[in-house]
C-alpha cells in the first residue's frame, strides 16, 4: 500500500536541489531534442531520396524476371504484364503499377554518337508521381501515346549529340534474341534535372514503339514498377507479392534494385545512430552523476529509513522512481524544446544551398536536396523516447542499488 507513495516521495526528492535537477532535465531534453531532429532530418532526407530513386527507376518495389538483376539483358523479360499489374494493384499498399522496358542503347546523329541508358514507358500510365523526370521536361512535350515514335533526351545528352527538338537521332540496341536492331526517332522533348548522370546519360522512349523494335509481345516488359504511399512498407509489399507471383517473376524492394543508394543510406544511418549513442552516453553520464551524488548526500537519511522499516527494495524503488521522473519530465521538456524547430523544419525547411554548393551533388544518380526538412515517424519518436527512458533508468540502477545496500548502523552515525 505504501508503494503508492514512493512516486510522490521521489518527486519531492528531485526538487530538493532544484538547480541540479533543472540542469539534469535540460541535458535530457537537449539530448533527446538533438536525437529527434537528427533522426527526423535523416529520415526525411532518406525518404525523399528513396522516393526520388523510385520515381527515377523501378518504383518502390520492382517486379521483374528472377535473373534480370544478375544478368540485365532484354531477353530476361516479364510476360503477361496486364495480369501481373492487376495482381499487384490488388495489394492495399500499391497505389500505382507501371510497365517499363529499360536498358542501354547507342544514340547517333550525323556527327556524334553516345551511349545512354533508356527507359520506355506508357505515357497513359505515367505522370510526375511515377516518373520524376517528367517534372524536368524543359523543352518539347511528352509522348502522345505508347506508340509515339519520338524520343526524349537529357539536356546534356542532347547537347553532346548536337540535336534540338524535332531533329532525328538513330538508336541501336540488341533485341530479345541478341540481334542488333536499329530505329530512328525525332526528339520530342528535352529534360533538365540538374543531375549530371541523368541529364548526360538518359533518354525516354514510348513503350509500344520500343516493343515493336525489340520484337516484344504486347504484354511483355522488362519490369513493372510499383509505387506505394510509404516507402518503409516496400519490404512487406515485396514479400506479399513475392508469395503470390508464380513462374520467373520476382518482387524486389527498392534497396535490392538500388544497392548503392541503400548502402549510402545505411552508412549515413549508422553514423547518425553512433552520434546519437554518444549523445545518449553523455546524457546518461549526467543523470548518473546527479542520482549518485543525490544518493551519497542522503546516506544517513537512507540509514534511518532502513532502521524504521523501509526494505532495501523500497529504497531501490525510491531512487528508480526519481530516475523515472527525471526521464519523464525530461521527455516532456524535449517535446516542448523540439516543437518549434520541428514545425519550422517540417513546414518551411532550411535551405542550405547558400552555405554549401551542392547544385550538382548526387548519390547513386539521385540528386541531393539542398533544403533540409524534418519528418518523424511515430515509431521513431517512440524508439527515441524509449531509448532516452532506458538510458535514464539504466543510469539510476547503480545509485538505486547503492541506496538499497546502505548499512544502517554505519550510516546513522553520520551526522
Amino acid at each position: 500500500m505504501f508503494d503508492t507513495r514512493l512516486p510522490s516521495m521521489a518527486w519531492r526528492n528531485l526538487w530538493r536541489h532544484r538547480r541540479r535537477t533543472l540542469l539534469t532535465l535540460s541535458s535530457i531534453a537537449f539530448g533527446t531534442t538533438l536525437a529527434l531532429l537528427f533522426t527526423g532530418i535523416g529520415d526525411s532526407n532518406w525518404a525523399k531520396m528513396i522516393d526520388l530513386a523510385a520515381r527515377l527507376g523501378g518504383g518502390h518495389v520492382t517486379l521483374q524476371h528472377a535473373e534480370y538483376l544478375e544478368t540485365p539483358t532484354l531477353s530476361r523479360s516479364v510476360h503477361d504484364v496486364e495480369r501481373i499489374r492487376a495482381l499487384a494493384l490488388e495489394d492495399p499498399d500499391v497505389v500505382r503499377a507501371v510497365p517499363r522496358i529499360s536498358g542501354f542503347l547507342m544514340l547517333a546523329t550525323a556527327g556524334q554518337s553516345y551511349g545512354a541508358a533508356f527507359m520506355a514507358l506508357d505515357p497513359a500510365l505515367e505522370d510526375e508521381r511515377s516518373l520524376s523526370l517528367l517534372e524536368a521536361l524543359d523543352e518539347g512535350r511528352m509522348f502522345e501515346d505508347s506508340r509515339d515514335p519520338g524520343i526524349i533526351l537529357g539536356a546534356r545528352l542532347a547537347e553532346n549529340l548536337d540535336v534540338e527538338l524535332g531533329q532525328k537521332v538513330v538508336y541501336t540496341l540488341t533485341d530479345k534474341h541478341g540481334e542488333i536492331v536499329r530505329a530512328a526517332a525525332r526528339v520530342r522533348g528535352i529534360v533538365r534535372t540538374g543531375t549530371p548522370t541523368v541529364d548526360g546519360g538518359l533518354c525516354l522512349l514510348a513503350l509500344d514503339a520500343l516493343r515493336e523494335t525489340l520484337g516484344y509481345g504486347p504484354q511483355e516488359a522488362i519490369q513493372i514498377g510499383l509505387f506505394i504511399g510509404d516507402q518503409r512498407r516496400s519490404d512487406a509489399v515485396a514479400a506479399r507479392l513475392g508469395a503470390r507471383l508464380s513462374g520467373d517473376v520476382v518482387a524486389l524492394p527498392w534497396y535490392e534494385n538500388q544497392p548503392d543508394l541503400a548502402a549510402f543510406i545505411a552508412m549515413k544511418v549508422a553514423g547518425a545512430q553512433f552520434m546519437e549513442g554518444v549523445i545518449a552516453l553523455l546524457v546518461a553520464a549526467g543523470i548518473f552523476n546527479t542520482l549518485f551524488v543525490s544518493v551519497m548526500e542522503r546516506v544517513r537519511e537512507f540509514g534511518i529509513m532502513l532502521a524504521i522499516g523501509f526494505s532495501p527494495g523500497r529504497l531501490f524503488g525510491l531512487v528508480m522512481f526519481e530516475s523515472l521522473w527525471l526521464g519523464l519530465v525530461g521527455l516532456i521538456a524535449a517535446g516542448i524544446f523540439v516543437a518549434w524547430p520541428y514545425w519550422y523544419l517540417s513546414t518551411k525547411g532550411l535551405d542550405i544551398s547558400a552555405q554549401l554548393d551542392m547544385s550538382n551533388s548526387e548519390i547513386a544518380g539521385i540528386a541531393v536536396s539542398t533544403v533540409m526538412h524534418v519528418a518523424l515517424y511515430p515509431e521513431t519518436v517512440a524508439l527515441i523516447a524509449a531509448a532516452a527512458m532506458t538510458a535514464t533508468l539504466l543510469s539510476g540502477l547503480y545509485p538505486a542499488w547503492k541506496a538499497g545496500h546502505i548499512v544502517p548502523v554505519e550510516s546513522i552515525r553520520l551526522v
Partner: protein, 238 residues
C-alpha cells in the same frame, strides 16, 4: 499497548561485539547480558565508547553480535534474514535518534504515519491514530509542516510519535535530548514518561544526559562493554 506474550521486550545473553579497526580487533561489548522487561523506562549510561549505542543497535536489529544471542520478545534474531530483520524493525521497534530523524520531504503528519503506511495499515486508521499521537505530543495544528519548518524539539516529538505509532515492543532512543535545550529536553522526557506510564510503551535510552538518568526508573551503567551496575525502581523509590 499490545502485549504479545510473557517474554521480555529484549534480552541479550553473553553478547560480544568485535569491530575490526585497521589491524586491530576492538571489542565494543564483552559478554554483556541484559534483560529489558516490557513497560520499562530504562537508561543505558556510561562513558563514550563503553558500548551503549552498540547495545541499542543489536537490540534494534540494526547489527549482529559477534557471539552471544539477542532476543526480541523471545525471538532469536540470529537466523533472521535481512528482509526479516527489516520487517521486525518496522513492526516491533521504534527508533528515536539524536537528530535529523525525519524525512525532509515529508510533512510532520506523513513522517509520523510512515511506519503504519509501510505496514499496510488502511488510511482511515492511520489518520485517526497519527492525529491522536501528534496531539498527544503537542503538535496539533502543525501536521502539515515540513521538518525545516519545525524546531529541533518539535522534530523530536514527531520522531517520538513515529516511533510509537505502530505499537512497538520497545522504543530505542539514542541520545534523544542531546541536540535540544534543557527546557525542550524536559518537555520531551515528560512526553515519553507519559507515554510509558499511560500507554505502557517500553523505552530504552542510550544517554549521557543526567536529566534522562534522573527520570529513568532503571539505569544500567555499561563500562568497557559489560554491565557495571544496574539500578532499578529508582523513580518509584524517589
Amino acid at each position: 499497548m499490545t502485549q504479545t506474550n510473557g517474554d521480555p521486550a529484549a534480552r541479550l545473553v553473553d553478547v560480544t561485539k568485535r569491530y575490526r579497526q585497521g589491524a586491530l580487533d576492538v571489542f565494543a561489548l564483552r559478554g554483556l547480558s541484559l534483560t529489558i522487561e516490557k513497560g520499562e523506562f530504562t537508561a543505558l549510561c556510561g562513558p563514550s565508547g563503553s558500548g551503549k549505542t552498540t547495545t541499542l543497535n543489536l537490540i534494534g536489529a540494526l547489527d549482529r553480535p559477534t557471539s552471544g544471542t539477542v532476543y526480541l520478545e523471545g525471538k532469536d534474531l540470529a537466523p533472521l534474514s535481512r528482509r526479516q530483520l527489516s520487517e521486525l524493525r518496522r513492526d516491533r521497534i521504534g527508533f528515536v535518534f539524536q537528530a535529523y530523524n525525519l524525512m525532509p520531504v515529508l510533512t510532520a503528519y506523513e513522517n509520523a504515519e510512515i511506519v503504519l503506511a509501510l505496514q499496510g495499515v488502511d488510511a482511515a486508521t492511520r489518520r485517526e491514530r497519527v492525529l491522536g499521537l501528534l496531539a498527544d505530543v503537542g503538535l496539533e495544528g502543525l501536521e502539515d509542516r515540513r521538518p525545516d519548518q519545525l524546531s529541533g524539539g518539535q522534530q523530536q516529538r514527531v520522531a517520538i510519535a513515529r516511533a510509537i505509532a505502530s505499537d512497538p515492543a520497545l522504543v530505542l532512543a539514542d541520545e534523544p535530548t542531546a541536540n535540544v535545550d534543557s527546557e525542550t529536553a524536559d518537555h520531551l522526557l515528560d512526553i515519553m514518561e507519559d507515554l510509558n506510564r499511560q500507554r505502557g510503551v517500553t523505552f530504552l535510552f542510550s544517554t549521557h544526559d543526567p536529566r534522562v538518568m534522573e527520570r529513568a526508573r532503571r539505569v544500567v551503567r555499561i563500562v568497557d562493554g559489560r554491565v557495571d551496575s544496574d539500578e532499578t525502581d529508582r523513580s518509584e523509590a524517589g
